[in-house]
Amino acid sequence: MPKLTKSERYPVRFTLNGRPVEAWAEPRTLLTDVLRHGLGSTGTHVGCEHGVCGACTVEIDGEPARACLVLAGQVDGQAVRTVEGLEPEAGRLSVLQDAFRRHHGLQCGFCTPGILMTLDCLFRARPDADEAEIRDHLSGHLCRCTGYAPIMRAALDARDRFNQARREETHA
């Protein structure tokens, strides 16, 4: 295994929202910076850069993770999903995003991309997550605007709509 030398740049290849991408990064470059500056995917936000606020949360190989605590080189060959990957088709919001809009689950929107990624991962893995489980997942996020109540309402509503859609599919 070759050693990557400090201050030199290397190509990093991974899939971003299902599409193969390549970006150049130093060994010390964070995934957040590769996404935002290297690839222009500025949907992923950066608040604290030490793992506390959750704004940078993305999905890496199926699990929610802090992009500010991942070196770009660590995701080489892996699958990354960001908030840009949520809309089912250009210009149409996902069920989860739409619930956030209807319930005022965001005000300034700074925390929102991270929260959406956490909830998207949760509902994919556990479509009937209960309220306690949703709260436990949200504890990894700070929101300075909403007071969290509208976020909870949006999350519960999105969960119920997913499940209704699933039930209709299985009965059809």
Partner: protein, 275 residues
């Protein structure tokens, strides 16, 4: 902030990781889940010149029962431990403690062994390892040794790890017949490091209580049965013996009070679920 520059080795085998660590000596550091180390890099509290990423080493990803213990390799993430099917039945103390480590979004990457190497005095896994009297398997390019938990944690974020050495795995002893366990923690918010955490083990050999968040390392003590009437005084002695820290989360007095209350609750729970 951003990390200072460093060389990066993404090891594919254990031999590569050990070679790179041997070459780097004092200046090299292991990168596991990055959930404690990358914040330190970002804040430039740590400035290693070589980082060795061990998460690509397949040999370190094992989680297996061996000699009455669960042996967990250095590449096993905390979330993977929670998915081990027998966790609640065979390691109830870990089943109770792991959900308190950070958040879903940090347990998805943080490793079990990384938490031990980091050795935060308030961390749950070092506390559980001390309570269960487990062992840590260490390895350099040339040698390996196994260290008892009580000899591994030397001080606040200080361990018996030497330059060029890494944790290869940890062994948590499995529940034995007649044992019961209790875990209690108080933190400022759910997912924060503990202000005080207590882990109790009750068994045929008596009652042991480990306390984290108070002194520089988690500490274990034998305590009397509550039925004897001596427990309150023994807990009070234990609380005072720990030289409680003062920090922005809590005063020493509040920490001692938590040791007395959480300690008793943890012990009572351990006795209740003794089997």
């Amino acid at each position: 902030m951003k990390p200072a520059p460093f060389d990066f080795v993404r090891a594919a085998t254990l031999a590569e990781a050990l070679d790179a660590l041997a070459q780097a000596g004092e200046d090299g550091r292991v990168l596991a889940g990055g959930q404690s180390f990358v914040p330190m890099l970002n804040m430039r509290l740590a400035r290693p010149s070589v980082l060795v990423d061990i998460m690509g080493v397949a040999d370190l990803r094992g989680i297996e029962v061996a000699k009455g213990a669960l042996r967990i390799g250095a590449g096993v993430r905390q979330v993977e431990l929670t998915r081990w099917a027998d966790l609640t039945a065979r390691l109830p103390l870990l089943a109770a403690a792991v959900p308190y480590i950070g958040h879903v979004q940090t347990r998805s990457r943080g490793t079990v062994c990384g938490s031990l190497a980091h050795a935060d005095p308030s961390a749950e896994l070092p506390l559980a390892l001390i309570a269960l009297e487990g062992e840590i398997h260490l390895r350099t390019k040339k040698a390996h040794r196994t260290v008892a938990a009580r000899d591994f944690f030397l001080g606040m974020m200080a361990t018996a790890l030497r330059p060029g050495e890494m944790i290869e795995a940890v062994s948590f002893p499995l529940r034995r017949a007649g044992q019961g366990f209790g875990f209690r923690e108080v933190a400022r918010r759910h997912g924060d490091y503990a202000v005080v955490a207590c882990a109790a083990v009750a068994g045929p050999q008596g009652i042991r209580l480990a306390v984290g968040g108070v002194g520089d390392v988690p500490t274990l003590r034998e305590l009397p049965d509550p039925a004897s009437g001596d427990l309150n005084e023994a807990l009070n002695d234990f609380a005072w013996s720990l030289d409680a820290r003062e920090d922005l989360h809590a005063t020493p007095r509040y920490r001692r009070e938590l040791v007395r209350r959480l300690g008793r609750d943890a012990i009572e729970e351990a006795l209740r679920c003794r089997s």
